[in-house]
Symmetry: C3
Subunit: 351 residues, 3 copies
């Protein structure tokens, strides 16, 4: 630790707009999770259940909200996770890139490049592409004809944008993602063969969206597939043609959204959820992992299962399901006892 | 709209081999879906259920089959979807590519290139690769040693073909797809470790296949993994080693097919379906979304669930399932009432 | 077959450390599966159930373990699959690569390259990258700043390693895989928006791991995401931040592992399995395809379903489930009969 730069707890509190509880001169040299933290590290507790783990933590200080007790020097903030994020960046700054255009980059005609753009090796920009200020395109990125990328957006290696894909500001697209491939649309001929329906629409991604690695977002048949401001999409998600994802959604890994679905704002789809085509999901709705949604989901509901039902009901059903084999036996036994009783009853009545 | 070129309804009808109903001189400048269409647009109705939406549509004309009533000038055709596809291409022609080979392209030895090939920047062709006439390879495509691509096929950006992958005519492979990676085959040693079984077979894709973005089709252990003519594969699908996909299949997004499965013709696997290894699926069979198939599926059946059962039965089961907690209570109550009755019965008989 | 080189059965037995049963001079020119094998081929039988298929096989010889009867010249070995693997490589040797660095390769500063490295066209190595002896990087591979790849590892085309990813010896990473993208971590602000938590940790892949095509392994928030020695990961698998995959795991295609899960040694997750965050899986545990794991799994157990239950119980439940609609009717009928009986009973007692 001798080689780590120390910052006072007070200085860090100022960075995150928090208040120090305890000694503000404590020296902090790093940041770590509760169990990994050592002497000289600051850690954070966002929920009451982690207080026990804090007790045995080696951390020299802790970030907490105002409701939790501190057992060591602390920074009190309203949003511990955000303060944690700020200090992560403070202790682990991303290396500054030197803007510039590698000599290998292949530029089409009429390409517009903003200020301080970084184009890594083997980037291809098609005709009429527009690149905003401070955009970073990592190696192997391909941007199709007529596509545009606004300021401060980063595309990691081997991302593909097809023609006429529009990406907003401060968007992050991770490696291998594909935006604008043809939607899956065919007309079945009388010969039983599938004839391609041209997909002539586009894709639009609004500001502050993040898109995971190897995600696929298809272009619309007509019109556009739309990802609204602030939504976050995890790895290997599939978004079909003409889908509209609302603002501030969380789409977890391997989610699949079929054509023409419309998601409201603040929707959460947990991992491996699937949506049938043309489904509408209300604002603030949540769908539990691996569920299959075949019908519209109301706002602020939580759904589970395939086909999905309200989560509370689903939990009771799942708790009951393992008892089904036993239930079959019970009912068979009941039936037999009842038959016996009925036979006797007839006997009694005959007497 | 003043700047849009207008075509008469009669001229468009000729293009799609249809008959005009109403005024053939109506001017049409664009094509759109029912709800998006404005004045000057033509739209289409393929199914009766969309007639209601048509009533409030601004479209100036509509494409219909012969069974549905028209409330405005119409083109009557046998296959509305196909007519729609034709007019989409008419109103939104893909820009013509200028064939040519970018100076950055890396060519191996003994590469054969057909007429009018388009090789975008940063394409790599290994030794003994064969490329047919009018093939288009987008930026970053990599074609391994001894692979072949026949005429009129398009590979989008960053597609990877490993060694000895054979792709037919008029095939479309979307960005990021990987054909020919090693199948997942290991032998467990007595030490519990997994020892790789070399995957020395190939992959063959027949004519008129379309493969979605980031799809993975593994090479065979021996022999070949085969995708037959006309099948369409959506994004993020996994096809394992030695699988045979029949003609005119539809494999929806995120489907996973394990090793050595054989699919007949006209099979449809809906989104996120999984197939166990060595399963056979009969012609014209359909598997509903998210189902898991562990046994062979007969021709022309529809299967659902994990493990899958006939779809009609599955629907009844799913309708019954939420009643399971209540059923448990009902049966417990029945049991009690029956015990009471039995006790009394014994009393009665004793009297 | 005239143009195939023949090897005696005795020579092949020596290669795989086996014993010949029958004529050691039989000539063998190739290797194939039981049903595909022709005259001159050797095949193998690893399990008793394939003996019937062997009877009608055209193979000239067979590899068997010591417990199974041979109906033709045979090589007896302890591990037929491993012997099969050895002979596959013998009959289908991978073409020898000529090491070297393509002129198009983009090298950062302070890159260290080992002996006999093969760098294909359009490879990018960031600053401070370290590449071990005999490493092969196929076209379009991108290795981020400060990453390292140890000896004898192969990365296929268009693989992306972000910054500070460490890959061990004899690792195979298939095309399109992405290691080190940011984990999916956000803090929700009081405005309901999702604020990115910087992901400043790394990824480490130990020796002898194989990673499938288009797999995504995210970097840790802090610390590292870890894939231990000898694990094999199939196509399109998602491994979230801070996950630890133990030694000798098999993760089948399209598996999704949420953040901070810990898997023991010799774990098998079948296709499309999903794990909730922070779940621990014990050594030698197996999870059946499409299951969803929301709680810890004990060592040497087999789990199925969503939420998962012990596999044996799950099988009984699944067998019972299709009888649920009938059960509802049965119970309704029982209820009616019981009510009748109760009414009569009251009648009897009144008499």
């Amino acid at each position: 630790m001798a080689d780590r730069t120390h910052h006072t707890l007070g200085a860090l509190a100022t960075l995150v707009d928090g208040e120090v509880e305890g000694d503000p001169t404590v020296g902090i040299a790093g940041i770590a999770g509760i169990t990994d933290a050592g002497a000289g590290d600051i850690t954070f507790v966002a929920q009451r259940k982690y207080l026990r783990a804090l007790k045995t933590s080696q951390a020299s200080a802790v970030i907490l909200d105002r409701s939790l007790p501190a057992d060591r020097p602390a920074i009190r903030v309203a949003q511990p996770y955000q303060a944690f994020a700020t200090l992560l960046t403070f202790f682990h700054p991303r290396p500054q890139l030197q803007p510039g255009i590698h000599t290998s980059v292949a530029l089409g005609q009429r390409v517009r490049l903003g200020q301080d753009v970084t184009l890594f090796p083997f980037v291809t920009l098609g005709d009429d592409v527009s690149i905003g200020d401070r955009v970073v395109l990592h190696p192997g990125v391909c941007v199709g004809v007529g596509s545009s990328i606004e300021a401060d957006t980063v595309l990691y290696a081997n991302v593909t944008l097809y023609d006429r894909v529009a990406v907003g500001r401060r968007v992050i697209i991770h490696a291998g993602a594909v935006l604008g491939a043809d939607g899956f649309g065919y007309a079945q001929g009388s010969d039983g063969r599938h004839h391609k329906i041209p997909q002539v629409g586009g894709v639009r991604v609004e500001d502050d969206v993040e898109i995971g690695a190897n995600v696929c977002i298809d272009r619309a048949t007509l019109g556009e597939t739309l990802i609204r401001r602030g939504s976050k999409i995890d790895n290997l998600v599939h978004v079909a043609h003409n889908v509209e994802v609302g603002e501030d959604n969380l789409l977890l890994a391997q989610v699949g959204i079929s054509g023409s679905c419309r998601l409201g704002a603040h929707v959460t789809l947990a991992g491996q959820v699937g949506l049938r085509d043309h489904v509408q999901i209300g604002d603030h709705a949540t769908v539990i992992a691996q569920s299959g949604i075949a019908q519209d989901v109301q706002s602020r509901t939580v759904m589970s299962g395939t086909p999905a039902i309200p989560h509370n009901l689903w939990r009771r059903v799942q708790a009951a399901t393992p008892r089904l084999p036993e239930l079959l036996r019970t009912v068979a036994a009941l039936e037999e006892r009842l038959a016996t009783l009925e036979a006797r009853q007839i006997g009694v009545e005959r007497e």
